[in-house]
Symmetry: C2
Subunit: 87 residues, 2 copies
């Protein structure tokens, strides 16, 4: 078993309203920053032990599917690195 | 001016309690998943126009410093890609 860190990023699907991101964007513009769009996402870093990268990725994918993301409104992506390489 | 997408990831500093992540971890364990730790973070994708990558990175860094992160409890990192390469 090797230690891996899986990163799951959960984004709202295109077209789903994100009032929090809109508010953040307007606050930045009021501070004088120029930007054309801002999207927010949830980011999870999961430490887990698995036999290989594929197994770790599959487990993280199931976690996203069952709990971290709501498939009706969210897209997600998963990336896995060995724990020593993780930040 | 070129279009860039800056990704700002805002994490709680080591040692700052994160009850939301702890709850998520326990919920995953109750579902039968094996994991040793879970950290959550906020993830912002900012579309902006800038002269070059360095200018885009500096502006995103200032946004994190002034609004997106609270330096007392957060660490953040910034990465910038040209918008065509972004997801």
């Amino acid at each position: 078993m090797t230690a891996y860190t899986a990163t799951v990023t959960v984004r709202l699907k295109h077209g789903v309203l994100d009032p929090e991101a809109e508010t953040t964007k307007q606050a930045l513009q009021r501070l004088g920053f120029e930007l054309s769009a801002l999207r927010s996402a949830d980011h999870y870093e999961v430490d887990l032990e698995a036999d290989d990268t594929a197994a770790a990725e599959q487990r993280a994918d199931e976690m996203a599917e069952r709990l971290l993301a709501n498939p009706t409104i969210h897209d997600y992506d998963v990336s896995v690195v060995e724990a020593d390489d993780a930040q």
